[in-house]
């Protein structure tokens, strides 16, 4: 089922809250000298609140480019992007930064934690830029780390944590600002199968939050309610599926 035209349907807009993400004809063209790379050729897509969407597609199909636009790290060449009903496609760099800070949480394949900085301080970072005071910052960061099962690892440095633990710190950092949207670009790409399952259990357990995740693995995509497949910068298919349930023994991430 295609959801590309949902935002244009007037009656739904009046009654239901706006979708978290509404993309209309998004293109992204990179100019390399006189060569133009059309990474996105007109993507229209909307994601409703609370959805768990997986984005798949061959290498070079534009998944990361799409995530960067959705994550307000990049601006589309053309098209309209409404985030929580607000047009962000022409925002200034500073405004985009504030949008990222307040509405979006990122999880990357390579964790992207600050080295030589404790887990707690890494999780505090978005709150720091949001101007949250020291006490509240510490409390909220601690709670976020406890939520991902790392309450005992607050003062550990990234190089003292396993890959799975580092990714959970990154998830805690993404969640600590209570964003409307959590974006994960191949979050399990650097993890083994068992750790991947732990991370996916964690992500799919976030009922109150909208998650968009890029992956190459069908195993991982199986956790999502909906799979969008890209090819050559266009949406090839967009299907809903019954999401996989977490295995009973993996409901709570272990302190491995």
């Amino acid at each position: 089922m295609s959801r590309a035209d949902v935002t244009t349907a007037e009656p739904t807009r009046l009654t239901a809250p706006p979708p978290v993400v509404a993309l209309e004809g998004i293109t992204r063209v990179f100019s390399l000298g006189d060569v133009e790379v059309h990474a996105l050729r007109g993507v229209s897509l909307s994601v409703q609140r609370g959805e768990f969407v997986a984005i798949m597609g061959a290498s070079g199909s534009g998944k990361s480019t799409l995530m960067n636009v959705v994550g307000c790290l990049d601006r589309p060449t053309a098209g309209r992007y409404l985030l929580d009903g607000k047009d962000v496609s022409r925002q200034s760099r500073a405004a985009l930064a504030r949008t990222r800070n307040q509405t979006i949480g990122f999880v990357f394949q390579s964790f992207n934690l600050l080295a030589r900085t404790t887990a707690l301080e890494n999780v505090e970072l978005p709150l720091l830029y949001a101007g949250v005071g020291g006490k509240e910052r510490r409390a909220r960061a601690t709670a976020a780390l406890e939520r991902v099962g790392l309450g005992q690892r607050l003062d550990h440095l990234p190089n003292q944590l396993s890959g799975g633990q580092q990714q959970r710190v990154a998830i805690a950092r993404a969640l600590v600002t209570r964003p409307s949207l959590l974006l994960a670009d191949e979050p399990t790409g650097a993890l083994d199968t068992k750790t991947s399952a732990e991370v996916m259990t964690l992500l799919s357990g976030l009922d109150d939050i909208t998650v968009v995740l890029v992956t190459h693995e069908h195993d991982v995509a199986a956790w999502a309610q909906r799979v969008v497949t890209l090819r050559d910068g266009l949406v090839l298919s967009d299907v809903e599926q019954p999401p996989r349930r977490p295995a009973p023994d993996a409901t709570h991430p272990t302190e491995a």
């Binding site: 500073a94 990222r100 600050l114 970072l125």
Partner: protein, 409 residues
């Protein structure tokens, strides 16, 4: 994010690389220390000049016989006398700006004690001379009017002469010395006055009453004065006006016509002092600007390291941007790092500079002259250098593209 928080983050980042931070700050440390030490040296030199002029006496004009163009400005020896006792009287009585004036008669002579012989300048003068020059006696009694009236053969020795004739620390009061074969009794030894601004030893001289001088040493002098006249002006700001008034008075008295040159010259010590002062100020400024250049070099060092640091930390910048740091916040962070480097360097430099200034002042025997305004200025300037040279690297960091920065290996 408040400035305190920004400063804390900057400090933490700098502490992660302690040695590098220290070496970077070293440029500023040396620069600031150099400014403070150099200005202290300049001030010390200035205080030496000031002390020399204070020794000359305050508000002084010195009237010398002979025109300034014919070399008369050197005064005294070998110059045709042109000033008279009547000129002196006129200056004392007709000039409202003048507080007092004292004559000197002067010749060069050998002064002999029992054992020693010393060639020096012998000056005849009146008791008010010592008042005008604020020159007290270290031993014995000061010259009085009765010494003058009686034409007594009494002499006051300058400190250098006393030492040459009788040895250091001796008490020659009541001893006899001979000047041009005439026996004199030592009535006093004058306090040490030190050097003139031109390096001449004030203490290498002896004084006798003018009456005795005229009667015993230069009988042919008549009404003329063979030395200079010291004039004390009432107020320091009037020295220029007094100089012009006296010039007019003396030209009248000497009946000099329109085109004729002065047959005397007046040295205005306040003017000479300010010229010398300017010389010392120029020296100060020169030293300070050399030091400022080294501070600038320190700033370039900061810029260099900040640029390296920004490149090294590209990924960190990307992460910070991804979680919502605005370009302004990134700018503030790197500026704060440069500022903390420069300010901490500045404060350490102040410490080092004060230490160096103290060592130097001990070395040269100067008072420790550290100007608080210079300390504040040097610290402020180092902060400015930090911001100035930190700005470009910080701008570079703030303008990074978050995606490119995140991909940076």
């Amino acid at each position: 994010m408040g400035p305190l928080q920004t400063g804390r983050i900057a400090l933490l980042a700098l502490l992660r690389n302690k040695l590098r931070s220290f070496l970077t700050a070293l440029g500023i440390i040396i620069g600031v220390a150099a400014v403070i030490a150099m200005v202290a040296i300049g001030e010390g030199a200035k205080s030496q000049v000031e002390a020399a002029f204070a020794a000359m006496g305050t508000n002084l004009l010195i009237i010398m016989p002979g025109s300034s163009s014919s070399g008369g400005a050197r005064g005294g020896f070998g110059t045709q006398p042109t000033l008279t006792w009547d000129d002196l009287k006129a200056i004392q009585t007709e000039m409202p700006l003048v507080a007092d004036a004292a004559p000197t008669l002067r010749t060069q002579a050998q002064v002999q004690s029992e054992e020693q012989n010393w060639g020096t300048s012998v000056q005849g003068t009146t008791p008010n001379y010592f008042r005008i020059r604020t020159w007290g006696t270290a031993l014995g009694v000061p010259m009085t009017e009765s010494d003058l009236d009686s034409g007594a053969k009494v002499v006051w020795l300058g400190a250098t002469v006393a030492e040459k004739l009788f040895g250091a620390g001796a008490d020659p009061i009541g001893q006899a010395v001979r000047i041009k074969g005439v026996p004199f009794i030592v009535s006093g030894v004058l306090l040490k006055k030190g050097q003139s601004p031109m390096g001449q030893d004030f203490d290498d001289t002896v004084f006798i009453p003018t009456s005795t001088f005229k009667a015993r040493l230069q009988p042919g002098l008549g009404n003329f004065l063979s030395g200079v006249i010291f004039v004390q002006v009432r107020a320091g700001e009037d020295t220029g006006r007094a100089q012009r008034a006296i010039t007019g008075l003396l030209r009248d008295r000497h009946r000099l016509g329109q085109g004729q040159e002065d047959d005397f010259s007046i040295r205005n010590l306040a003017e000479v002092a300010s010229a010398q002062q300017q010389g010392a100020d120029t020296l100060s400024a020169l030293l300070a600007s050399i030091a400022a250049v080294s501070l600038l070099v320190g700033g370039i060092g900061i810029m260099n390291i900040m640029l390296v640091s920004v490149t090294e930390r590209t990924r960190e910048i990307g992460i910070r941007m991804a979680v919502g740091a605005t370009p302004a916040q990134i700018l503030a962070q790197f500026l704060a790092e440069a500022l903390v480097l420069a300010l901490v360097g500045g404060l350490l430099g102040v410490g080092l500079g004060l230490f160096a200034a103290q060592q130097l002042s001990e070395q040269f025997g100067w008072p420790l002259l550290v100007r608080p305004d210079v300390v504040a200025l040097a610290t402020g300037f180092s902060g400015l250098v930090g911001v100035g040279f930190g700005l470009y690297p910080a701008l570079k960091a703030s303008r990074m593209d978050p995606i490119t920065a995140l991909r940076f290996e």
